[in-house]
């Protein structure tokens, strides 16, 4: 089965769910979520067993490319969407308040279907190696998100988030298209491998191509939440519903990074552009690390905190980008930048989803999204508190978790690159950022265990559905096991 059948299967799944949603008389809609979860699971199995190894790597018609990384990021996209649907199902009691006047589940059907289409876009992004395909798949994702972000239509915050995402998203798309046009104008190609040849041919002027690259970085920086293109992140994360926050945080970022990696590579490998590109990337990395981590310290809303943490993680990930420079590659001990970033993103999926799952369960019952609303969680639900503890510890980079191993790989690259190039300042910013991380992640731990529950309402035991319980335990095991045995993830790369 060729790899592109996977996207087709996902789309078929989405249409089936939409059809059932439209014609089913059952009002509860949770069946649709279950169908979506099981359908995605089946596609994930297809991805693992049914894609023939003779077709990896394989280039279909110059616009659809399958290599091990493409498959890896497709798996991340499917897994993320699957978990988002689990989250959405848990979130539905809080959600229905904002959808229809009758306070029923009936308005929630599309909420389960749209992520499936976004997932198809994310998977396509992983295979795009042509600027046009990149643009189209990226728009498929973004337009899906426009709807999803503002889906709680009776909630002012959600609408505001939707408008912000729409306006800024459109703006960044404008930059992206403009950049693509410039690149086509300078090199005469859309295909990244042809662009690479053109860059090395020596017939191209430097200034316009750097200008074009900078424009592309605006568009892609928006996707991965790099400073200074991050303005939308805190507001949108806070305003929209919890499952979509998680989806944006993990799915959108992962797909953004695979595209970023593919786009940046030819520019780093060409002697014409590499020095300027490294300068741009280093600058973005440093401001992202600094801004994301330091602003996170002051946050009290947990979604905003995770938004800045998401920005900070983008900074850590970008730290490995300059090291893709061709002269450095043979000198690097350990996994390549591409593998390390992929590992980190897979780990980020596990730990972020774990945190969001816990927060979703807590907030759908108490309707609070502040760090203080986690007070006394250690007493109310030891399992949830422990899961959150591990998730947050992993985000902070405490050893023997997947988050630490990811940070270790990235620091490994950044420090060796600093020895090679002398640019130690990136490492300094990263150390500063990671230290700040201890403070703001531990704030969550403090709230859960130190803060005694004060009101009677807080004493309520939390009920966790069986599906969520299973997912939490699987993610928990994943975060710890992949942290001790990283080959569980690196084995796929």
């Amino acid at each position: 089965m060729p790899a592109y059948y996977l996207e087709i299967l996902i789309l078929l799944l989405g249409f089936t769910m939409l059809g059932i949603e439209a014609f089913s008389s059952n009002r509860s809609r949770s069946g649709i979520a279950v169908l979506g979860v099981s359908g995605l699971f089946v596609v994930l199995l297809f991805l693992i067993i049914a894609v023939p190894s003779s077709e990896v790597p394989y280039d279909y018609w110059g616009i659809y490319y399958v290599d091990k990384w493409a498959l890896f990021y497709k798996a991340i996209a499917i897994l993320t969407t699957l978990l988002v649907l689990v989250l959405a199902k848990d979130f539905s009691p809080a959600f229905k308040k904002y959808t229809s006047q009758s306070n029923e589940f009936s308005g929630i059907g599309e909420y389960y279907c749209l992520p499936i289409f976004v997932c198809a876009g994310l998977m396509w992004m992983a295979s795009a190696k042509d600027l046009i395909t990149i643009f189209v798949s990226l728009e498929l994702v973004t337009i899906g998100f426009y709807v999803l972000v503002s889906f709680m239509r009776r909630n002012v915050g959600s609408l505001e988030a939707g408008v912000k995402y729409l306006v800024l998203g459109a703006l960044s798309t404008g930059f992206l298209v403009y950049g693509i046009a410039w690149i086509f104008g300078v090199t005469g190609h859309f295909d990244l491998s042809k662009i690479s040849e053109a860059l090395n041919s020596g017939e191209i002027e430097k200034k316009p191509i750097i200008f074009a690259f900078a424009l592309l970085m605006v568009g892609l920086g928006f996707k991965v939440a790099a400073v200074p293109f991050h303005i939308w992140v805190p507001d949108v994360y806070q305003g929209t519903s919890m499952p979509i926050t998680a989806f944006l945080s993990v799915g959108s970022k992962a797909a953004g990074f695979i595209v970023l990696l593919r786009v940046v590579e030819p520019f780093l490998n060409s002697p014409l552009t590499s020095s300027s590109v490294i300068l741009i990337l280093s600058f973005l990395t440093c401001v992202t690390l600094l801004f994301g981590n330091l602003v996170a310290i002051k946050q009290t809303n947990i979604k905003r905190l995770l938004a800045y943490s998401s920005i900070a993680h983008a900074g850590f990930l970008m730290m490995a980008l300059p090291a893709m420079e061709s002269g450095f590659h043979s000198k690097l001990s350990g996994p390549s930048p591409m593998d390390s970033i992929s590992f980190y993103l897979a780990g980020y999926l596990l730990m972020t989803m774990l945190c969001f799952l816990v927060i979703t369960i807590v907030s759908s019952l108490t309707d609070g999204e502040n760090i203080d609303d986690l007070r006394g969680l250690g007493a109310r639900s030891p399992l949830l508190a422990f899961a959150m503890l591990v998730g947050v510890a992993s985000l902070a980079g405490i050893p023997l978790t997947v988050g630490f191993f990811g940070k270790f790989l990235l620091f490994n690259i950044a420090i060796q690159y600093a020895v090679f190039s002398g640019s130690w300042y990136i490492v300094a910013f990263a150390v500063l950022g990671a230290s700040a991380g201890f403070y703001y992640y531990f704030k969550i731990i403090r709230a859960m265990y130190w803060g005694g529950a004060e009101q009677d309402g807080d004493q309520l035991a939390l009920t966790v559905s069986t599906l969520s319980r299973v997912v939490i335990i699987v993610l928990l095991a994943g975060v710890i096991l992949c942290g001790v045995f990283p080959k569980l993830i690196l084995g796929f790369l």
Binding site: S330, K331, L332, S333, G334, P335, G378, P382, F386, L389, A393, I398, P399, L400, F404, F408, F411, N412, I415, Q416, V419, V427, V431, A434, S435, F438, Y439, F442, I445, R446, Y449, W450, V484, F485, P486, K487, L490
Partner: protein, 484 residues
């Protein structure tokens, strides 16, 4: 296999407690089993001499760079392993059945996790896991000080220790990555400590490279040992922490930094040390003299003990700075002796805290007639801490001084530092004896109430005193398994 057992028994016990096993009994069972296994390991080390690694196990978890989850002990690891299992056993034994707020699980899980962190760090054959295991203790410490600590500023103290140790270990991680990537090529990258040491000895990195890798390593390890001027986290944290955590942290975990310097920085980067020798001597004198005077000026017993533990780290650094096996062995013996004696002091301080309304030195007095057992044990511990002959602390200090003057034809910087450091013995005599007099001798203070407690766990206290005396009279029990 036996080392794997020792490292993972506390984790398994912690898991069992988490799933509902009885808190104190499970923890005590695990700690007791570890104590027995630890003695078996030590007797095997004594038989084989401790020069080479024994009981080695390894599981490769990554090929490039080569990471192995594996454990083994040689003499130095063995001594620290013994220290850990003894202190863990005593700390768990001394913990009350229930936490102050009536909870059980976290209260008994935390010491076990800290113990695993220390054991894993001391016995790992791999630089990566040496680092990783140590940080396992970060969250339990943070939670325990914040939840069950003493004093009004316990929250600030918990943050301070967490951020200090977090930043210290980040700097350390940077140094470790720079170290391995400079020593090995991209194809044969490894984190195995023995391999790296062998490579470092044969290839001898440039002085300049060594100098700049040594700095983050020493700084990172130094922050974890409360090296002056990065020591300010230690005393308040130990004063605030619940007894078992103070015992484990001051007694065991703090030795990780010294262990790391002796295991990694000194053998692999000898020229790096030379480049910074002057600065290091000044800093260690800061630990001994400056912190010594700070200790004298303390008004509370718990703060005083915390500061005294910071001060004694200066001697361990002095032993390391000797750069010969006499000094290094002295430092290892110091780590052991100080670990036991400070754990003993904190255990006694914890018992006093349970019985008294305040630990302010000027407010208490004349306790010797009321709690004679505590008074006698505190006397032993104080004498050990000062370094009176007959206690292991004396043996270690004298070995360190021998190391400093070993083969010195003239009085160099090291010898001058050693002479100045000798004054530290006087300083510690001043504060320890004064504290003893204030607390146990003299008239009993006005308005002091002594809460009657039903029982005092004498077994761990006697055990620690016996170990101190035994290794004090026969330091060769320890020194014989260290390289000569």
């Amino acid at each position: 296999m036996i080392i794997d057992l020792i490292v993972f028994i506390p984790v398994i016990a912690a898991l069992a407690i988490g799933l509902g096993a009885e808190g104190r009994k499970t923890a005590l069972g695990a700690a007791g089993a570890n104590l027995i296994l630890g003695l078996i390991v030590i007797s095997e080390l004594m038989r084989k001499g401790g020069e080479e690694l024994i009981f080695e196990t390894s599981t490769v978890i990554l090929e490039n760079p080569k990471l192995t989850l594996g454990f083994a002990v040689d003499g130095m690891s063995g001594v620290l392993l013994l220290l850990t299992v003894i202190v863990t056993f005593c700390a768990v034994y001394i913990s009350p059945e229930k936490a102050p707020d009536g909870k059980v699980k976290l209260y008994h899980i935390s010491p076990l996790l800290i113990s695993t962190g220390a054991l894993g760090a001391f016995c790992s054959t791999d630089l990566f896991f040496l680092f990783a295991f140590h940080e396992l203790a970060l969250i339990p410490t943070f939670l325990m000080i914040g939840l069950y600590g003493h004093g009004r500023d316990k929250l600030a103290v918990a943050w301070k220790i967490t951020i200090y140790l977090g930043v210290g270990s980040l700097i350390l991680l940077g140094g470790l990555i720079a170290l391995y990537s400079n020593l090995t090529s991209a194809e044969s990258a490894t984190f195995n400590i023995a391999d790296l040491t062998a490579i470092a000895e044969t290839m001898q990195l440039d002085q300049e490279v060594q100098k700049w890798i040594f700095l983050p390593l020493f700084l990172g390890f130094g922050i974890l040992v409360s090296l002056f001027p990065f020591h300010s986290w230690a005393a308040p944290a130990y004063a605030s922490a619940p007894t078992s955590i103070a015992m484990l942290h001051a007694g065991v975990l703090k030795k990780f930094g010294l262990y790391g310097i002796l295991r990694v920085a000194m053998p692999m980067l000898p020229k790096g040390f030379e480049a910074w020798e002057g600065l290091i001597l000044v800093l260690l004198l800061g630990n001994i003299i400056y912190v010594g005077f700070v200790t004298i000026s303390q008004k509370y017993l718990d703060r005083m003990l915390g500061n005294s533990s910071v001060m004694h780290m200066g001697y361990a650094f002095l032993g390391i700075a000797c750069v010969n096996h006499i000094g290094w062995n002295g430092a290892v013996l110091m780590m052991f002796a100080h670990g036991i004696s400070i754990a003993l002091l904190f255990a006694l301080c914890g018992s006093l805290r349970e019985r008294l309304s305040t630990l302010e030195l000027s407010e208490i007095g004349g306790l010797a007639s009321k709690v004679p057992f505590l008074a006698v044990s505190f006397g032993f511990a104080a004498f050990a801490s000062i370094g009176l002959p007959g206690f292991a602390n004396f043996a270690s200090e004298i070995t360190i001084l021998f190391g400093a003057f070993n083969g010195a034809g003239e009085v160099g910087n090291l010898q001058k530092a050693a002479i100045l450091a000798l004054w530290g013995v006087v300083i510690s005599a001043v504060y320890m004896l004064r504290a003893y007099r204030n607390v146990f001798q003299g008239d009993s203070a006005q308005g002091l109430t002594l809460v009657r407690r039903d029982s005092l766990n004498k077994i761990p206290i006697i055990l620690m005193i016996v170990v101190l005396l035994l290794t004090g009279f026969f330091p060769n029990l320890i020194l014989s398994i260290l390289p000569s």
